[in-house]
C-alpha cells in the first residue's frame, strides 16, 4: 500500500514556480523527510497534499484518494501540524482536542476515549485543563502532534515540526515523532531544513531544491553515494606534483584542488590521513592543516545542487524581496527568523 503518490506535481503563484513537476512516493508506515532550505517549496508541497492549495498541474494521491477530486476523503485520512502553531490559546488543551474531534465527526464516547489516550501519549494529562496560552513552546508542539493523531489518520504531515524550539525540546520532540510512528503505525511526512533532524529521524529523505526533488533515498545511502569522507588539506606551494601522485592512487574516490588547498574524497578518511600526508611530503608540499569531514546530508545537498543550504536560502530571500507575488516562499520564510534563533541555540 502506498501512503502518498505524487506525479509531476506543479504549483505556480503568478510567475513564480514554487513546486516544479516533482514526483515521489511514500510507502505505508514510513517516516519520510523532505529536506531543503527555506523557500525550496516544501510548505507549498505540503499545502497541496493536505488540500489547502490546488495544484497547477500534475496529480497526487494521499492514502489512495486524489487531492483535487476527493478532498473530503483526503482530509479524513490525514493529520497535520503546521509550521506556525494553530491552537486556540484561550481554550484549554482538552477543549482544543474536543473541538478538533467534533470537526472530524467523532461521537461522544469515541471522543472521550481518544482525547484521554492522546493526553497519555503526549504526556500532558496533568495540564489538560489548563489554558493553552500557559503552555510552553514544547508542550504546544506535543499537543499539536497529538491533535494531528486524534482522529487516527493514516498519514501525518509535520511542517517544520521543531522550528523555534530549543535544542533539548527539539530532541524530545524527535522522540515523540518516532514513538508516534512506531506505536500508532502512522505514516509520517515531515519537512525540515535541519540536517540533523532528517538524518536522525527519517527512514528516507527527499532532497528538495528549487521546487524539485534532487534525490530520494535513506540517509545512509545518500551519504554513501558521495563515495566517502572528505579530507581537506590546507597546503603551501605548488600542488602539481602532489596531484599527479593522487591520480595514481586507486584508493582515492575523487579530489579537487583550489587556492585554499586540496579536497580529497576517500573511504575511511581517518585511516588514510597518514598516507595523504606522506604523499604530500614526498611531493614537497608543506601542509598547514588537515580536516576530515564525515559526509552528512549537508554535503549531500552541496554535491547534488552545487550550493549549500544557507546559500540557497539567501538566494531565495533575495528573490522574494524583489518579486511581490512569492507567496510560497514567503510562508516558508516565516520560520526563518525562528530558525536563525534556533541554530544559535545549537552552537
Amino acid at each position: 500500500m502506498v501512503a502518498i503518490q505524487v506525479d509531476g506535481l506543479t504549483k505556480t503563484f503568478g510567475d513564480t514556480t514554487a513546486v516544479d513537476g516533482l514526483s515521489f512516493r511514500v510507502e505505508d508506515g514510513e517516516l519520510f523527510g523532505l529536506l531543503g532550505p527555506n523557500g525550496a517549496g516544501k510548505s507549498t508541497l505540503i499545502n497541496v497534499l493536505v488540500t489547502l492549495l490546488r495544484p497547477t498541474s500534475g496529480s497526487a494521491t494521499v492514502d489512495g484518494h486524489d487531492v483535487v477530486a476527493e478532498t473530503g476523503a483526503v482530509r479524513n485520512s490525514i493529520g497535520i501540524v503546521f509550521q506556525e502553531p494553530a491552537l486556540d490559546e484561550e481554550l484549554t488543551g482538552a477543549e482544543n482536542l474536543h473541538f478538533h474531534a467534533r470537526l472530524y465527526g467523532m461521537d461522544r464516547a469515541d471522543r472521550e476515549r481518544r482525547v484521554d489516550e492522546i493526553f497519555d501519549l503526549v504526556g500532558l494529562s496533568a495540564e489538560r485543563d489548563d489554558r493553552v496560552g500557559t503552555y510552553s513552546g514544547g508542550m504546544k508542539r506535543r499537543l499539536e502532534i497529538g491533535r494531528g493523531l486524534l482522529h487516527e489518520p493514516s498519514v501525518l504531515f509535520l511542517d517544520e515540526p521543531t522550528v523555534g524550539l530549543d535544542a533539548r525540546t527539539r530532541r524530545d520532540t524527535w522522540e515523540y515523532i518516532q514513538r508516534m510512528n512506531e506505536e500508532a503505525g502512522v505514516s509520517i511526512v515531515l519537512t525540515t531544513h535541519y540536517i540533523e533532524e532528517a538524518e536522525q529521524l527519517c527512514d528516507r529523505v527527499a532532497v528538495v531544491d528549487d521546487g524539485d526533488i534532487a534525490a530520494v533515498d535513506t540517509p545512509d545511502a545518500l551519504k554513501e553515494s558521495l563515495g566517502g569522507d572528505v579530507v581537506s588539506l590546507d597546503v603551501e606551494g605548488s600542488t602539481a606534483d602532489f596531484r599527479r601522485r593522487l591520480d595514481d592512487c586507486e584508493w582515492i574516490t575523487d579530489y579537487a584542488s583550489s587556492d585554499a588547498g586540496v579536497r580529497v574524497t576517500v573511504e575511511r578518511g581517518d585511516a588514510r590521513v597518514a598516507d595523504l600526508v606522506r604523499l604530500a611530503d614526498d611531493a614537497g608540499v608543506a601542509i598547514r592543516s588537515v580536516d576530515i569531514h564525515r559526509p552528512n546530508l549537508e554535503t549531500v545537498f552541496l554535491s547534488l545542487t552545487g550550493a549549500t543550504m544557507a546559500e540557497r536560502e539567501s538566494e531565495s530571500a533575495d528573490e522574494a524581496g524583489t518579486a511581490s507575488d512569492r507567496r510560497g516562499a514567503e510562508s516558508d520564510r516565516a520560520g526563518e527568523r525562528a530558525h536563525l534563533a534556533a541554530t544559535e541555540d545549537d552552537a
Binding site: 489547502l52 492549495l53 473530503g72 486556540d88 484561550e90 477543549e95 507567496r327 510562508s331
Partner: protein, 256 residues
C-alpha cells in the same frame, strides 16, 4: 463532506461562546460604547425637540431600540470578522483543513456570533430599564428576539463577507469608520431618518439595520415608521442575502 454538518456547527458555536464567557473584559468592552451612547444621548437630549420624533414618545424610549440595534450591528459584524483574528494566529488553517464544508464553517460562525451579539444586546436592554426605559408589552418580547436574531444573522453574514476581502486584521479600523458607523447613522437609531436629505434617505432604505431598528421600536415601544410585516420581510430577505454572500465569498478564500 455534508453541506451542513451539525456537529461541526456546534463545535464552532461552543468555541465562540466559551471564548466570549471567558473574557469579561470583552463583554464589558462590547457593551461600553452603546451604553455610553445610551446614557449621554438619552439624558442629553431628553426633552429636546427632535424633528420627526413620534408624538408622545420620550427620546429615551426612541433611543433604546436604536442602541440595541447598534449593539447587534457592532457585535455581530466583529464576530463575523473574527475569522481574521483566527487567520492571524493560524487557527483558521486548523479549521479549513478539517473535513468540513465551508458552508458549515460559515453557519457555525453565524451561530456563535449571533449568540454573543444577542447576549450583548440583551444586556443593553436590561441596563436601559433602570435608566427609565419601559417595555411596551412583555408579550412582544419574543417578537423582539426574532428581530434580534435576524439582525444578528444579517450582520454576522456581512462580517464574514467583509473578512473574506481582507488578508489580515489591519482592515478592522477602516471597516469600523467607513462601514459600521455609516450604517449606524443611516439606520434611524438615534434620530428619525426623515430629517436626512432625500438622497441620503434612499441609502437608509437600503440599510438592513433601518428595518431592524424600526422593527424593534415597533415591538418594544409600539411606534414605527413602517409596518412590522415590512420590517420583518426586509430583515428575512437581508439575512438570506447576507448569508448567501458571506458563504459565497468565504468559499473563495484561499487557505494559505
Amino acid at each position: 463532506m455534508n453541506l451542513v454538518d451539525p456537529l461541526s456547527v456546534y463545535a464552532l458555536w461552543l468555541r465562540d461562546v466559551k471564548r466570549f464567557l471567558r473574557a469579561p473584559s470583552r463583554i464589558i468592552g462590547s457593551i461600553a460604547m452603546p451604553l455610553l451612547f445610551l446614557v449621554f444621548l438619552g439624558f442629553g437630549f431628553s426633552g429636546a425637540a427632535i424633528p420627526g420624533l413620534p408624538e408622545g414618545v420620550d427620546y429615551l424610549q426612541y433611543l433604546v431600540p436604536g442602541m440595541v440595534g447598534f449593539t447587534m450591528l457592532f457585535g455581530a459584524s466583529f464576530a463575523g470578522m473574527s475569522i481574521l483574528s483566527d487567520q492571524d494566529v493560524g487557527f483558521l488553517k486548523e479549521i479549513l483543513v478539517a473535513p468540513v464544508s465551508r458552508t458549515s464553517i460559515v453557519l457555525g460562525r453565524i451561530a456563535g456570533g449571533s449568540t454573543t451579539a444577542l447576549v450583548q444586546a440583551g444586556l443593553i436592554l436590561v441596563l436601559s430599564i433602570p435608566l427609565g426605559f419601559e417595555v411596551d408589552s412583555l408579550l412582544s418580547l419574543p417578537l423582539a428576539v426574532v428581530f434580534l436574531v435576524l439582525i444578528a444573522v444579517t450582520f454576522v453574514g456581512f462580517g464574514v463577507a467583509l473578512a473574506s476581502q481582507f488578508s489580515d486584521s489591519e482592515g478592522f479600523g477602516l471597516v469600523v469608520q467607513f462601514v459600521i458607523f455609516p450604517l449606524f447613522f443611516l439606520s434611524g437609531a438615534i434620530y428619525p431618518v426623515g430629517s436626512l436629505p432625500e438622497p441620503v434617505q434612499l441609502l437608509a432604505l437600503a440599510n438592513p439595520l433601518t428595518y431592524g431598528v424600526d422593527g424593534l421600536r415597533a415591538v418594544l415601544v409600539g411606534t414605527s415608521s413602517y409596518p412590522v410585516a415590512v420590517d420583518l420581510g426586509a430583515l428575512v430577505l437581508s439575512s438570506v442575502v447576507m448569508v448567501g454572500i458571506g458563504t459565497y465569498l468565504f468559499e473563495r478564500v484561499e487557505a494559505v
